[in-house]
Amino acid sequence: MRFVIVAGTPSSGKTSVMVHTIRHLLRSNLAVAACKIDCLQTSDDARYSRLGIPVAVGLSDYICPDHFYVANLEEIETWAQGQKADVLVLETAGLCHRCAPAVYDCLSVCVIDNLVGVDTPRKVGPMLSSADIVVITKGDIVSQAEREVFRYKVEMENPQARILDFNGLTGQGALALKNEILNCRPLEGISGRELRNPMPAASCSYCAGETIIGKSHQMGIIKKVDFGRGN
């Protein structure tokens, strides 16, 4: 089974990109299963369901969706194998720019759009810099010059990645992404594989539901602002 991990900035069009691409995969008679990891709510599962493929949803609720995601990778794989999938598409929530969902031997796709600004690629971190493929969306509504500058900034952050322009409305670019998925090697089990980057830490009292402000309510890994480091 090919294991495709899709991350990206909020509202960049992750689901639209994958829905168009899955259509092409289905046309080649491949069985696809999709899993969406989100935080509080999602309606993206309905969009995947309309393709007639098996869909699972994981809501992380009060836990960082990235941590929730990594703690469930084995279970998600087992579920998809039970669905006899040839390709598993696992879409993560993409809430903070510090997400780091890429796993060695899985195909890691980062979706980012032209509207987030030319400085954003530098801010995004491992989600972008460790991706195999960077999909850039919404190029149809910004100037050619901005598209070129944005793409250059993405290349600066991740010179190895294959970069694909994608129109999430028309599906242009889906064929190229499908071919990239077909070219990646199927995964022989996710257990024991390694994250490409460590995830952001999230194990303090607030992660576990604490709401009161103040030192005496803070436990676990707590990081404080270093006021000596101003510029």
Binding site: N114, D140, I141, V142, S143, Q144, E148, Q172, G173
Partner: protein, 271 residues
């Protein structure tokens, strides 16, 4: 160096072979794609953008200088085959024209950025009626000024050898000049439009029907004459627009009622 693009025909929406099986466009030429909405114009452009190799829905192939494209080998050098200027595009970066053009010039590896962006600004102001300066913010540009800057930037800074002009509206930009500037840089220009003026500005037009390339028409000498008329009328409309925008009126000092259609036409064409 790109001298020629060739599109080898595939299938229309019914799976029948397209009537046009070979379409060639040379550097410095303008090709218009015409046909009703849904006839396949956008898909044709999309095939060219993706360097189709019979794998897209239409089964078309694109040849560059008579050679098929090796997408995996040349993916970096091929990335900007087509630069686009369309009605839906906007500048979204909050930055002055100068800062942005310098950034773009740096990204494209331009050797003399200061001189180059002067040229871009001059062309921009040549194409649009209302002048802009280096300190003008991108987000403050009018529709016409934005389009003019996009054309100038595509002509001078972007290195894409093919330029797609998609549904550019009439107001605020001299389209004939824009096409001349682009083709003068040795670019191939593709025009998608429902506007007869733009269609006739092209040397040839491909007529789309039911997803297929139905016919290629070369612009005839008579059509070129009509184009001259159309351009003249557009200039007159632009003049009328300026007249009204400057707060002037027509017919205030004239008591005679003008209800004759022909006379009215002549009247506004006069100034």
């Amino acid at each position: 160096m790109l001298d020629k693009i060739t599109i080898l025909g595939g299938l229309d929406k019914n799976g029948m072979p397209e009537k046009v099986q070979r379409l060639e466009i040379a550097a410095g030429e303008v090709l218009a794609a015409v046909g009703p909405t849904g006839s396949g114009k956008t898909q044709l452009i999309s095939d060219i953008e993706q360097y189709a190799e019979e794998e897209t829905l239409t089964g078309r192939s694109v040849l560059i200088n008579n050679q098929p494209v090796n997408k995996n080998k040349d993916k970096r050098s091929l990335r900007y085959l087509i630069a686009q200027v369309s009605q839906n595009m906007n500048f979204v970066i909050d930055m002055s024209i100068e800062e942005f053009l310098l950034m773009h010039a740096q990204v494209r590896g331009i050797r003399e950025p200061a001189r180059t962006i002067e040229e871009v600004l001059a062309i921009t102001n040549h194409l649009s009626g209302e002048p802009v300066t280096f300190s003008t913010n991108l987000t403050q540009l009018s529709g016409g000024q934005s389009r003019a800057l996009m054309v100038a930037d595509v002509a001078i800074i972007s290195n894409a050898p093919v330029v797609l002009i998609d549904e550019i509206e009439n107001a605020g930009i001299d389209r004939l000049q824009a096409l001349e500037i682009l083709t003068g840089q040795g670019k191939i220009v593709l025009v998608v439009s429902h506007d007869p003026t733009l269609m006739l500005m092209a040397g040839q037009r491909v007529v789309m029907k039911n997803g297929g390339m139905e016919k290629i028409c070369r612009t005839t000498p008579k059509e070129r004459k009509i184009l001259e008329d159309l351009v003249r009328v557009e200039k007159q409309v632009a003049g009328l627009r300026e007249h009204l925008r400057r707060g002037k009126s027509i017919g205030l000092d004239d008591n005679r009622e003008e209800d004759n259609e022909k006379e009215r036409l002549v009247l506004w064409q006069k100034f």
